[in-house]
């Protein structure tokens, strides 16, 4: 994962605003496979060069995880579906284990240019489920 300085938290990008009519997913609940609650959207990471929001920072404080609450992970927005009526971000293809393999967000640190989808390894429970 290469670092990219073009990616900036949207709240620090004072010269930009959301396009008219675009939904603001801040504080939306983030749900994964089988409606597992990952947490809430805490921050938006934008790319001014691409002119769009690239990542969601998902805080796991209100999540269904038994451990690891309070960490923040980066989720590419391109994977997500927005449910505006329920104020939800849905990631039906992302299991709880896969979410735990997404990069942790450190404020101020360099952000990855791309995040590969976390496919399960053969030694993991999920892989056994698929098989």
């Amino acid at each position: 994962m290469k670092a990219n300085s073009d990616l900036i938290p949207f709240d620090e990008l004072s010269a930009y605003e959301l396009a008219p009519g675009a939904a603001d997913p801040m504080r939306y609940a983030v749900l994964g496979r089988n409606d597992f609650v990952f947490g809430r959207v805490r921050r938006l990471i934008a790319s001014s060069a691409r002119g769009e929001i690239v990542y969601l920072v998902v805080g796991t404080a209100p999540s269904n995880f038994k451990d690891g609450r309070g960490e923040e992970r980066l989720v590419p927005l391109a994977w997500a579906e927005l449910n505006l009526l329920r104020r939800q971000v849905r990631l039906p293809q992302l299991s709880p284990l896969a979410f735990r393999r997404l990069p942790i967000y450190h404020p101020g640190a360099a952000l990855p240019t791309e995040i590969p989808f976390p496919t399960p390894r053969p030694d993991e429970v999920e892989f056994w489920d698929i098989a």
Binding site: Y16, E17, L18, A19, A22, G51, E81, V89
Partner: protein, 149 residues
């Protein structure tokens, strides 16, 4: 899949209220600065400017008075300017009295300090119009109904 576009914020227009509040102050400051810088003789300059403008202002004032009174026929419709039941006023400054019209062989005067003569019946007990009865004495007039002659 979701996509959220962002765009540069449009250029913020200058708030109109700020301009309206700033402009008169800036004009006043500019005028004061110009008076100080451009006019000669320091603090006498404003007095000179007033002296220069005074005749023109007087002319404008007298023209306005004539125009205003001229819009209304002084001796028409069974009404006329008649002497009010009041002794002549002697405390007016001669300089402030201006001839603004004539009626029945009398020259009508108005007092600049008291403003333009009012239209008949609109303001003041004597309509602020006078005839000169003696040097420094002005008898107030009144616009009244007079019996047909």
């Amino acid at each position: 899949m979701a996509q959220i576009r962002i765009q540069p914020k449009p250029e913020a227009p200058t708030p109109r209220a700020a301009v309206l509040a700033t402009l008169p102050i800036a004009l006043l400051l500019g005028a004061g600065l110009a008076t100080t810088l451009v006019l000669e003789n320091g603090r006498q300059a404003p007095d000179q400017a007033v002296t220069t403008v005074a005749p023109a202002a007087t002319g404008i004032w007298e023209w306005a008075s004539r125009t205003w009174l001229g819009a209304k026929p002084l001796d028409a419709g069974g009404r006329a300017w008649v002497l009010a039941e009041h002794p002549p006023v002697t405390w007016f400054d001669e300089y402030e009295m201006a001839a603004v019209g004539a009626s029945g062989g009398w020259t009508l005067y108005a007092n600049r300090a008291r403003g333009l003569p009012a239209l008949s019946g609109m303001a003041g007990p004597y309509d602020r119009l006078y005839v000169r009865t003696a040097p420094g004495a002005y008898a107030p007039l009144r616009w009244r109904d007079v019996p047909a002659r």
